[in-house]
Symmetry: C2
Subunit: 228 residues, 2 copies
């Protein structure tokens, strides 16, 4: 068995691909998901299936109280934007931004890694096609990595040198789709939509659905979870 | 009303003093506590009473799943060390260290601050009398401050410049006791013990009780919550 890694797994296409990459690189993967009151709790069921299919040795779902803080369309009664153009998405930070989310998620991943004796964290952030979230940029990741080595017993005692791996950070959505396909990710198990329809299918209009559709179209592959 | 600040409040002497400092500096204080499965959940009741006494305008207690990660005497079935000398405490990192705790706590404080439009965070860490925790040191705090300004919408858009205030970081426990006394903190409302006795009184032997007792002794004040 390879070195242990903690992989953040939302159940979406990007995090599933990230888990597949970590596994292909030989890591023994411990997957971590969060139930934070998100509208699209459907993604947690996908996370469970993806973790199993990609042979994570452990998968934990932590319940978080992000709703108690509020401030996001993903957790509050703020409207999820629909039907936006790529140009509109590229402008500014969307309301689906959850304040400090990746700081909190990586904080938990770091804590678990320390307990496991792991020094590798994987997160499927992507700065290219969707640069709207500040905590998906390389400078954020570098700052977190620096923090991680100051924050922990393992970092301070020098028994671990934490690294945050972001294998998708410079890929387009089409490149992510192709990478997933090469690695044998079962697309049907993944879930991207922020606000599923009443019949349980993706809305096809939120930023996440639109980016996924664009990625599959450009990669010339068919998405089994496409909106009707 | 002054600028808003988010103050991490455990219910112990240090965080109560920190809240008193923030208030004395004119901030409108939003207090934040965490119910993370700690042995000494008794401190949360103290946090409520301290927040009220020191006129925080809001006090939220978030439930966290730190037990799901484990790795600490404060959340697991690991023994809390008792009766240690100051020299023993100064050596290495104690088992009461909770992996990545302050990274996670400050992550939530940052998220809440962003939602509130606040840019000031207060945390009662102390590097002098109890330097055993890596995430209580100035270099950790500086790294978090840097991260905060990269992690957030407010930081990236330049509408906020987050600061992490650590008014106690260079004080001895005796100096903290005196500062609290000057600011009118009601010592009787605070709680420090890691592992309360069955009769509800402090154990008097854990690191936290011993440090508190030393602080009061050196400050020549009487602790109303002293162990029997």
């Amino acid at each position: 068995m390879g070195a242990r890694a903690v992989v953040l797994l939302s159940g979406g296409l990007d995090s599933a691909t990230t888990l597949a990459v970590a596994r292909a690189e030989g890591y023994t993967c411990h997957a971590l998901s969060f139930d934070y009151g998100q509208r699209h709790a459907r993604e947690l069921e996908s996370a469970r299936r993806v973790a199993q299919a990609l042979e994570a040795v452990d998968h934990r779902v932590l319940r978080l109280d992000l709703r108690a803080i509020g401030g996001s369309a993903l957790t509050d009664d703020i409207e999820v934007p629909k039907g936006r153009s790529a140009a509109a998405m590229a402008e500014g930070i969307p309301t689906t931004y959850v304040p400090a989310r990746n700081t909190i998620f990586l904080g938990y991943a770091l804590g678990w890694a320390e307990v496991l004796g792991a020094q590798d964290l994987f997160i499927g952030v992507n700065a290219l096609d969707y640069s709207g979230y500040p905590d998906c940029r390389p400078e954020f990741i570098e700052a977190f990595e620096r923090l991680a080595n100051l924050a922990t017993k393992a970092g301070v005692e020098g028994t671990s040198r934490f690294r945050v791996h972001t294998p998708l950070i410079a890929l387009s959505k089409a490149q992510i789709v192709l990478r997933a396909w090469e690695l044998g990710v079962d697309f049907a198990l993944t879930w991207s939509c922020y606000e599923p329809r009443a019949d349980g299918r993706p809305c096809g209009a939120c930023d996440s659905c639109l980016l996924r559709a664009k990625g599959f179209a450009e990669a010339r592959l068919v998405d089994p979870v496409a909106a009707p």
